[in-house]
């Protein structure tokens, strides 16, 4: 029940925003977001940490029983973490837009709350269709946020964002529904969209089918992540979105893709993933290097950070496709950590944009002297993003890369480990990646330092550069009015928006063990599941038709026969 | 039914005739076209009739009504003047009503004449008159350009006749495969009309006003009733011509009281059958029809009340026209409001 309440609470407040006068929208929305966050904290507090792999707070309400649809919710520890992240970013987004959004306030806040509800719904749902509805419904608020509140090129960005991600997810839906239909075709089973039930069905499918399903699902989820060749909507959408939109986009919406891959791709089509992991990993690595290098030549700060997301999510996915515990756990923590640090970077850029109305590093620079507090935060979050040990980014990046490094079946063989080593070394797992993947991906770490320090060097260090018409000598008096009374450096509200993120970045960097422990069991189960499938893989082709499918065919024939008799 | 090549040939000829009959500028072989089309149609009917054989050939009136109806239809689509087209349409409607009569649909026939020919077509005529520029004094009545030229006559006719060919071929094929209709006894419906039965029996003097019907069996055509005096009577259609009325004694023996006693009207009419079908079997239809009519009425009221701003082009044209007609006309003095016509209240009435 708590989870239904969690999904409904923002919606109720959205209604409140709509009903109440516009002057109160901000307060109502903030209250809604804070209450939602409080509820997530309550849920986290009541979460049984001894049993993290089971879906807790599970609740299922029949919806359309004929079609096997139900409103089924439940969270394991991974969902819990993402719910917490979503809950945290909610109030931050509202606070960040406190002065930035001045017209159509109602619309903005109402849609923000709806977006919050949809995102929470994604992480809570245990029913495929409920998941998909929430997954897709995030597009609508985001589309509106970008197209109404974005900057100059917003129309194109919003349409591209919508169509691109929507097209992909429709293909993914087709794949998922195909699994459901296969499930329904099996003897003794009826239509259901329960994720766990479908997962076991999908695993029984032959490799060829699984490969197609992998392709279909990746078409939807990889766009959302975004993985290398399908990432181009992201920089555009990020650049044009309002600050809050960017924060949510980077913080949570991209995680919908990674979460979906964790939730669907890995347990549904493990054989195909094992088979195509190197290919997917290569895409990730291309994303890391290519995205990073593109960042390096950007002049638009926001675009730079947006492309950095492509590179970072490449690491995240690389860990996922390492298909061992280290990699997957790294990937899960990466979701959280990237949300915190990149979200904060977008907040910082938004603060600058609100003051200077430019995002160009050619016009803007050397703010270190003028805005020391802002600059401190900027350097801090840039370092978190670079993956400096002691801050959160490092833990996940390290684990993703180590997972990749470990994941090599070749490590037991002579070509890598020395001619006489016959027992597999202790620290490696089965897998098709390995050191070379890790090393090449590791150059991304250097590139990350290059572009983030380039950015910091441009806008924080150096001589003060401000846009033309922004005469800094007369700035204080003249701009007070023009910028809604924003102070030169950050004000208390802005510091409050950043401080929790900074604190978490630091805390999760210094003491990540609780987070790692809480996700351990579910991730271990996923990794073990894939390991089982991997062992079954070489002997798979002879029994390419699993028994379940055979049965279903037989049943189909007998049904036809019965019909013929009648 | 008839040879398909013959059919297609006739259709081609008919199509040529229709193309010729459609209005166009310059040489206008309308009459010739109509003749060709009529010839083709006539031949088609002839061949059909010949093929049908004497026992299955339709009533003679069928040919009359078909010829009038189709001729009218051809004229509707070819006559350049809307008024004439509407009048020809009335002709078609009347002919259709005739066909309905032949098909034992008397109610529909007269309803068609009343509703279509009486109401709808009159509305058409009103509108045609409203929407046509009256010729100025001393001027020749000039047809509007769009009425004198058919739009893509060849393409439309070809498409139409291809469609016709497909339709006819398919219907020939389809009708022969139709299942034979099962004839039900319509008199069963009399069970639902006890008062009609009472009335008819009383007016025909079979039953007295105080007599009470005990049992009816419309399948067999039996009515049993007890007279006010207490005698048991039986009216049987099945026995003897026109039915017999007998008195039943206590021991069951019957004595014929009256021959030819079954009233001529004691049966179900087509209109009654239609009524039952409509109101008992398809009550939703009439509801929906009612709603549609209501909406149409509202729509017509709303639409015709709408203030219409005349187009800039039309306004200019009107102003120049007025200025030409009246040299003292000052374009500035006349308020454009006057150019906005008032709602035509007549339309609403016409719609009803």
């Amino acid at each position: 029940m708590e989870l239904f309440a969690l999904i409904l609470l923002p919606l109720v407040f959205a209604l409140g925003v709509v009903v109440l006068p516009a002057a109160q929208s901000r307060v109502v929305a903030l209250a809604g977001m804070l209450l939602t966050f409080a509820l997530t904290l309550v849920i986290a507090g009541r979460f049984d940490t001894a049993d993290t792999a089971t879906f807790q707070f599970a609740k299922s309400v029949a919806w359309l029983p004929q079609l096997g649809l139900s409103l089924s919710v439940g969270i394991d520890s991974i969902s819990l973490l993402l719910i917490l992240l979503t809950g945290l970013l909610g109030p931050i987004c509202i606070l960040a837009s406190w002065t930035a959004i001045t017209d159509r306030i109602k619309t903005f806040h109402a849609w923000m709350l709806v977006l919050q509800a949809a995102m929470l719904g994604v992480f809570c749902s245990r029913d495929l269709i409920l998941f998909y509805i929430c997954f897709e419904f995030t597009l609508v608020p985001m589309f509106i946020l970008i197209s109404l509140y974005g900057s100059t090129n917003r129309k194109k960005a919003s349409i591209k964002f919508f169509l691109y991600t929507f097209t992909g997810s429709v293909i993914a839906l087709a794949g998922l529904v195909y699994i459901a239909s296969q499930h329904a075709a099996m003897p003794g089973r009826s239509w259901t969209f329960d994720i766990a039930a479908l997962a076991s069905t999908a695993r029984e499918l032959p490799l060829g089918t699984q490969s197609w399903l992998l392709l279909a699902m990746m078409a939807g989820f990889a766009v959302k992540v975004p993985l290398f060749p399908v990432h181009t909507w992201l920089p555009l959408a990020h650049t044009e979105a309002p600050t809050a939109g960017s924060v949510v986009l980077a913080g949570v919406l991209l995680k919908l893709g990674t979460y979906a891959i964790y939730r669907f791709v890995l347990p549904f089509v493990p054989m195909a993933v094992v088979e195509y992991a190197p290919f997917l990993a290569v895409l990730c690595i291309i994303g890391i290097i290519y995205g990073g290098l593109i960042c390096w030549v950007q002049t638009d700060i926001k675009k730079l950070v947006a492309y950095s997301s492509v590179a970072h999510l490449g690491f995240c996915m690389l860990g996922m496709f390492a298909l061992n515990h280290t990699g997957i756990a790294g990937s899960v923590t990466y979701m959280i950590n990237h949300g915190l640090s990149t979200g904060a970077l977008f907040l910082l850029i938004g603060m600058i944009y609100e003051r200077y109305h430019t995002r160009s590093m050619k016009e803007l620079g050397g703010l270190g002297a003028k805005m020391p507090v802002w600059s401190t935060f900027m350097v801090f979050f840039a370092m978190a993003s670079v993956g400096l040990p002691g801050l959160n980014g490092f833990v996940s990046e390290f684990m993703c890369m180590m997972g990749t490094f470990q994941a090599s079946s070749a490590w037991g063989s002579s070509n890598l480990w020395g001619s006489l080593t016959d027992v597999r070394p202790v620290g490696v797992t089965h897998g098709n990646l390995g050191p070379w993947f890790a090393i090449i991906a590791g150059t991304g770490v250097i590139i990350a330092a290059m572009y983030l320090l380039y950015m910091v060097g441009q806008i924080v260090w150096g001589k003060l550069r401000e846009p033309a018409g922004h005469d800094h000598n007369h700035h204080h008096e003249g701009d007070k009015h023009a910028q809604g009374g924003l102070s030169t450096d950050l004000n208390a509200r802005e510091i409050i928006t950043l401080a929790p993120l900074a604190a978490l970045c630091f805390l999760l960097g210094v003491y990540p063990t609780p987070m790692l422990k809480i996700i351990e069991t579910p991730v271990q189960q996923t990794a073990a599941l894939i390991e089982r499938e991997r062992e079954g893989l070489p002997t798979r082709p002879p029994k390419a038709t699993p028994e379940g499918v055979v049965h279903s065919n037989a049943a189909g024939i007998s049904n036809n026969a019965q019909e013929a008799r009648q | 039914m008839i040879n398909p090549y013959l059919l297609f040939g006739l259709l081609v000829v008919g199509a040529v005739g229709v193309v010729m009959a459609l209005p166009r500028r310059g040489t206008n072989p309308q009459v010739l076209g109509a003749a060709v089309a009529g010839l083709a149609g006539g031949l088609l009917m002839l061949f059909l009739g010949l093929k049908a054989g004497p026992d299955k050939i339709p009533n003679l009136f069928f040919y009359v009504f078909a010829a009038v109806g189709l001729g009218g239809a051809l004229r509707v689509i070819t006559h350049p003047r809307p008024v004439y087209a509407a009048l020809y349409f009335i002709m078609t409607v009347l002919a259709s009503a005739g066909l309905f009569l032949l098909l034992s649909a008397e109610f529909m026939a007269f309803a068609l004449i009343i509703v279509y020919a009486g109401a709808i077509l009159i509305t058409y005529l009103f509108v045609i008159m409203l929407a046509t520029q009256a010729p100025e004094e001393g001027q020749e009545d000039v047809l509007a350009d769009y009425d004198t030229r058919a739009n893509e006559p060849v393409a439309a006719t070809v498409i139409g006749f291809v469609l016709l060919a497909a339709l006819t071929v398919m219907l020939f094929r389809g009708t022969s495969a139709l299942p034979a209709p099962a004839k039900a006894n319509p008199d069963l419906l009399l069970a639902d009309m006890p008062r009609k039965v009472d009335r008819l029996l009383e007016t025909n003097g079979v039953m007295g006003p105080k007599d009470v019907i005990d049992r009816t069996d419309w399948n067999a055509g039996v009515v049993e009733f007890t007279t006010a005096a207490g005698a048991k009577m039986v009216l049987e259609r099945s026995v003897g011509k026109g039915g017999t009325l007998s008195e039943v004694a206590a021991d069951g023996t019957r004595k014929v009281v009256r021959e030819n006693a079954w009233p001529e009207d004691l049966r179900v009419t087509n209109a009654e059958l239609l009524g039952f079908n409509l109101l008992r079997d398809h009550p939703g239809t009439i509801e929906i029809a009612g709603v549609i009519l209501l909406m149409a009425m509202l729509g017509a009221v709303v639409l015709s009340r709408k203030q219409v701003q005349i187009d800039e082009d039309a306004k200019k044209a009107r102003v120049t026209q007025l200025a030409q007609a009246d040299p003292s006309f000052d374009p500035g003095s006349e308020s454009p409001i006057e150019l906005v016509q008032q709602p035509a209240s007549s339309l609403e009435e016409a719609a009803r």
């Binding site: 060749p229 181009t232 290098l293 515990h325 080593t421 | -």
Partner: protein
């Protein structure tokens, strides 16, 4: 923890059973008291408090004193630790557990865990390092409190915050009990180095240098990270004690023989070496260190001379057992050669350049080369000893140079200064420089002499069968020692002796020496920095109290600029600004330490290993740096064992080397005196320089022609990197950007455009003419019907 300990015990017993000649490293561990954590955590507390000061906008010297106090406490604790635990006979490593940092279990079995605690592993090697790190940090913090005076209330808090954070990171680096925590410190010092080099963030050169340092370090760090992964892959752990135990047992975590495992024997140490070279500016990684001289001088002294750059040396010494897995010692040979080549390479550059601070920078690179060569030549004790002595004398030199910069408005060109030691208030500086210089040159009986000698002698004694070409390496080092003596005293004779002459104003000539940062426009550079800032150290010199050029308006930086532009050395008088008490105290302390360090060579302590290497030997011997694997131990009898006197021209190399290296050093000094020394006794009666600018060496420059110019420009390595790596990468990035915009996104847009084109093609059908639609519809129906007709007949 109990679980880990039992595992450790198992492994240790395994090691003991298998190992013979196992000298140390994986012996029994001692549990250290919890207060040891405070040694590292106190500087972190200072960092946080400095942050609070910055937030509260403290406008006095409080942050400095806070830092000094904390660091002094930390040093005191270190000293206490040393005296209590590392003076007796038991030198087993100590362990103290802080908290669990990164813990996860990645498989079903118990062994499939990853454990990286915030825990310290302290052996003699660590103790040696933390002693000089905390000690020097305290002294240099004291020095900085005065040196950074001009920024009180501006960047003062920031400076000391970064300074404290640096000390914390450095301590974590050396004290960590596992590779990953060490990596935290490793990256942490990189960050602080970045922040401190870029301290004068308004100066593009400083920002560029900071960025360069960080990025080049990151390249090495990638190697280190991969090394951590490899180590985990091989050993199933990143904790030193377990790794050492396994190496001692010559078995990896799964029980495979280690010595035949190429990945463990070659790749792992190679990756480690990459990390070490990056941080210690060796070989082709060196380019960041000279540029790092853009930072404030105390930073250069602490980070870029004494501590951070020795992290690479520490890394190799710490993981020495891993280097000895390979029986052929391939990677150690590589280290030796690379160290020697770097030492020589840097020395050639030093002899050509005129910037005294950069001379010190290159000399650091060169001396680090010596240390690496020492490690490679199987003398970790020598390397550690040299690190230790170098820390003090190089700090002394840097602090001296800093005092000169401080006093002479940032003047660093040795052709613009002369006789500084004779100026009022600079006497101590002159002495300190002399002490530092004789140490660096290896004048007999100085600390530098003994430590360098240890490495050189080892070079001649190490058999070529173990380290290929060890003797050639030693010869290169010997030549380099001579060159070192020359360039050190070249600076000394030019700047500190001779006629008193100074020229605080710079002209643009120095700019031609390639001192401007890469990628900046020279014109703009001139414009932005004026004459006074041309050489890139404009900010260092310029606190203005005591100067007559205070214009009293604008920010400090503006004032500074005014001062420099308005100053005309020919018409105006310039007062050299002698160092104050704090700077003097720090210089004095460093100087004394570098003198006293010589005594350590003769100090005999209770521990083993003191016979060779004195006190340092006794510290190193029981540590991991002196580890010998069983395979290795059979052949390497010289490690910690009395070895056969190796022949050097038929003599005992150790004994003879005292004389040879002393001779080489003295020859170097005499050449310097001849070429650069002033007339009279100050130039040892062979020099003839009378003014600052001219000396006999000028003729030599002409003699060597382009070689000096090329050497002065650092052999154009920066330019080569720029041309073969940076530029192409930049071009590639632009190409990628274009590809992204026009091809990757283009395909997407094409997919979007195709429906649009189809729509455009179909648009005429939607003309709005009702007849068109009607014909289309009717035609469609007709076609369908015909189709049905055809299909069904």
């Amino acid at each position: 923890m109990t679980h880990h300990l039992t595992m450790l015990e198992t492994l240790t017993s395994l090691a003991v059973a298998a190992g013979e000649g196992h000298a140390g490293g994986a012996g029994a561990m001692r549990e250290a008291p919890q207060w040891v954590l405070a040694i590292a955590l106190l500087p972190f507390a200072a960092f946080l408090l400095n942050g609070v000061c910055a937030a509260l906008k403290v406008r006095n010297q409080f942050p400095a004193w806070l830092t000094i106090g904390t660091l002094a406490t930390s040093f005191g604790l270190t000293l206490y630790l040393f005296l209590n635990y590392f003076t007796g006979a038991d030198r087993a490593p100590m362990h103290v557990h802080g908290f669990e940092w990164i813990h996860f279990q990645w498989g079903a079995t118990e062994a499939q865990t990853f454990i990286s605690n915030f825990a310290f592993y302290i052996d003699g090697l660590t103790c040696l390092w933390i002693l000089f790190v905390t000690g020097l940090a305290t002294l240099i913090a004291l020095y900085s409190s005065e040196y950074m005076n001009h920024d009180v209330g501006l960047g003062y808090c920031r400076f000391f915050a970064a300074f404290s954070l640096f000390v914390f990171s450095m301590l974590v680096l050396v004290m960590a009990d596992n590779l990953l925590l060490m990596f935290l410190g490793w990256e942490g010092v990189g960050l602080c180095s970045y922040l401190l080099i870029g301290y004068f963030y308004k100066k593009p050169a400083a920002v560029a240098a900071a960025k360069k340092a960080f990025i080049i370090n990151r390249i090495g760090d990638l190697g280190l990270l991969m090394a951590i992964f490899s180590a985990y892959g091989i050993f199933g752990t990143v904790e030193y004690s377990k790794i050492f135990a396994m190496v001692a047992a010559n078995a990896d975590g799964a029980g495979n023989l280690l010595s035949v495992n190429t990945w463990a024997g070659i790749v792992l140490p190679l990756l480690l070496t990459a990390g070490a070279f990056g941080k210690s500016a060796q070989l082709f990684f060196y380019v960041w260190l000279p540029d790092a001289m853009e930072g404030p001088t105390p930073v250069s002294a602490l980070i870029h001379a004494a501590t951070m750059v020795t992290a690479g040396v520490f890394l190799i010494a710490r993981l020495y057992p891993v280097y000895t897995i390979d029986p052929a010692l391939t990677i150690l040979t590589l280290v030796a050669w690379c160290g020697a080549i770097t030492a020589f390479w840097a020395a050639t550059i030093e002899m050509a350049i005129f910037d005294i601070k950069r001379v010190m920078g290159y000399s650091t690179i060169s001396q680090l080369g010596f240390m690496f060569a020492g490690l490679g030549l199987l003398s970790p004790t020598g390397a550690a000893f040299h690190t230790f002595t170098h820390a003090f004398f190089k700090a002394t030199l840097f602090l001296g140079v800093g005092a000169v910069m401080h006093g002479f408005g940032g003047q660093l060109d040795l052709r613009r200064l002369s006789g500084v030691a004779w100026m009022r208030g600079f006497g101590l500086v002159g002495i300190a420089m002399l002490i530092g210089s004789i140490n660096l040159s290896g004048v007999p009986f100085t600390a530098g002499f003994f430590s360098k000698d240890m490495i050189l002698a080892q070079g001649f004694t190490t058999p070529s069968t173990m380290i290929g070409g060890a003797q050639i390496v030693a010869w290169i080092l010997l030549i380099t020692a001579g060159m070192t003596a020359y360039y050190t005293f070249r600076t000394f004779f030019r700047v500190y002796t001779g006629p008193k002459e100074f020229n605080p104003g710079d002209d643009a000539e120095l700019l031609d020496l390639g001192r401007h940062p890469k990628g900046t426009n020279l014109e703009q550079w001139h414009k932005e920095h004026g004459h006074g800032h041309g050489h890139g150290h404009g900010h260092d010199h310029s606190h203005d109290h005591g100067h007559a050029h205070d214009h009293g308006a604008g920010s400090v930086a503006d004032r500074r600029l005014q001062t420099r532009i308005d100053f005309d050395p020919t018409t105006e008088e310039f007062d050299p600004h002698p160092p104050g008490w704090a700077m003097k105290a720090a210089i004095l302390a460093c100087m004394l330490c570098s003198i006293l360090a010589a005594g350590l060579y003769f100090m005999k302590t209770a521990g083993p290993g003191a016979e060779h290497g004195g006190w340092v030997g006794s510290m190193i011997h029981p540590s991991s740096a002196h580890f010998a694997s069983p395979e290795f131990g059979k052949t390497a009898t010289h490690m910690g064992q009395p070895h056969e006197p190796a022949a050097f021209f038929g003599q005992d190399a150790h004994k003879l080397m005292y004389y040879v290296s002393a001779g080489v050093g003295l020859i170097g000094i005499l050449i310097a005196a001849f070429l650069h020394g002033p007339k009279g006794w100050q130039g040892l009666f062979i020099g003839n320089r009378v003014i600052a600018e001219k000396s006999r060496a000028d003729g030599l420059i002409n003699l060597f022609g382009p070689i000096t110019k090329v050497a002065r420009n650092k052999w154009y390595v920066d330019e080569i990197y720029d041309a073969i790596i940076v530029k192409p990468l930049h071009v590639l990035s632009h190409i990628f950007h274009l590809i992204d915009q026009y091809i990757v996104d283009g395909i997407v847009n094409l997919c979007g455009a195709i429906p649009r084109w189809i729509g455009k093609a179909l648009r005429p059908t939607q003309s709005g003419e009702i007849h068109g639609y009607a014909i289309g519809m009717a035609g469609g129906v007709a076609v369908l019907l015909v189709l049905v007709f055809v299909l069904t007949s």
